[in-house]
Chain length 214, copies 2
């Protein structure tokens, strides 16, 4: 069955999904890259970025699963870029270069309209200005029976959680304390929203927690 | 060297160290006991409470370490009991019966003076009304070269963290979502306070994270 899911979303021990003060030098906020150390070491990440061979253990296996059966992505505006407010022009094409690692339609939530952006490798960025429900509807249609993956950031995930739209989440808890940034849990009562932890798996460099609606 | 430490402090995946609405029926707040499932199964817990034999794996070993070399404890008022405001009389003697599991002097932070309470098995509750620094000073003296263990709750730990008094923490992250209650991390920037994660150990029923000042 087609699901709406969060997968391989990295958080710090203190619950932050990104560091503060995102800019061109810090796409994930200050110290945000530390959240993803577990992923950067994996073979799947290295292959995706043409960096040779990586680890092939539990972290790698779980990272690989996060990409399986994904038919469309939804991203918040800040995950797409550091630009705030209206687009000055169409020169910003995401953080990922000519061939982004999505290879599906990607719906970017923004308040500012922009034409769709076709990239190499099957990724098309589509900019949705009329809210999260509309983006999800479009993503489900584009996914064509496959899953919709909510890529983040934390604020976008919180919005979809509160809207009751997310079926399951895989969080990768990294052994890092950020202390500030975008907190995944703040103002969210996941228990009240019907979620429980279904499984915890110790990876080499992160603890993988699987959460689903019961 | 004598340390001030937090040990075997259980939190939920979303950072809560106790549930909400503590009362006589819910000493750890609503659903708070779910945080401690990993501990309740261990042999050391079962032995402490005369409940026969428990598990002898990683959780048990780490639980045992949490009691080693402890010369004095500090507890918040709510960890000692559900009573708020002035003590009506001296009838409340803690949650633990005649022989509490401390076996050392225990300094209880409160705004309301009360005579010391000598229990069986070497536990003496002493009530400290002049603040956390004074309690720590007394506890260090009583510990006589051994460690001072800050038992909790979350609010007491946060106060000692902010005061720069805690050397290390062992947190047991349980596969549970509380959604509300006393959050250990709220308003605290552990990174800024100089803490990093030194080790993560996957136990049978919790993930043990060791944090220390660098």
């Amino acid at each position: 069955m087609s699901k709406v899911r969060v997968a391989a979303f990295s958080i710090s021990l203190d619950g932050f999904g990104a560091g503060p003060r995102q800019d061109l030098q810090n796409p994930l906020g200050v110290r945000g890259t530390e959240l993803h150390g577990w992923f950067f070491h994996t073979d799947i990440f290295k292959k995706m970025h043409g960096e040779g061979v990586g680890t092939k253990g539990i972290d790698n296996e779980i990272a690989a699963q996060s990409f399986e059966n994904v038919g469309a992505w939804i991203l918040g505006r800040n995950m797409f870029g550091p630009i705030r407010g209206a687009w000055k022009d169409d020169s910003w094409k995401g953080w990922w270069g000519a061939n982004p690692p999505y290879h599906t339609p990607v719906f970017v939530l923004t308040h500012h309209a922009r034409p769709a952006l076709e990239m190499e490798g099957g990724t098309t960025f589509r900019f949705v200005t009329n809210g999260i429900e509309s983006a999800l509807e479009k993503a489900k249609e584009a996914a064509n029976g496959k899953d919709v993956r909510i890529g983040g950031g934390a604020s976008v995930i919180r919005q979809y959680l509160v809207a009751g739209q997310i079926d399951e989440m895989h969080l990768a808890v990294s052994p890092v304390l950020l202390g500030e940034g975008e907190n995944l849990f703040s103002g969210i009562n996941l228990h009240e929203l019907g979620f429980t932890v279904s499984k915890t798996v110790a990876g080499e460099n992160a603890t993988h927690v699987f959460i689903r609606k019961t």
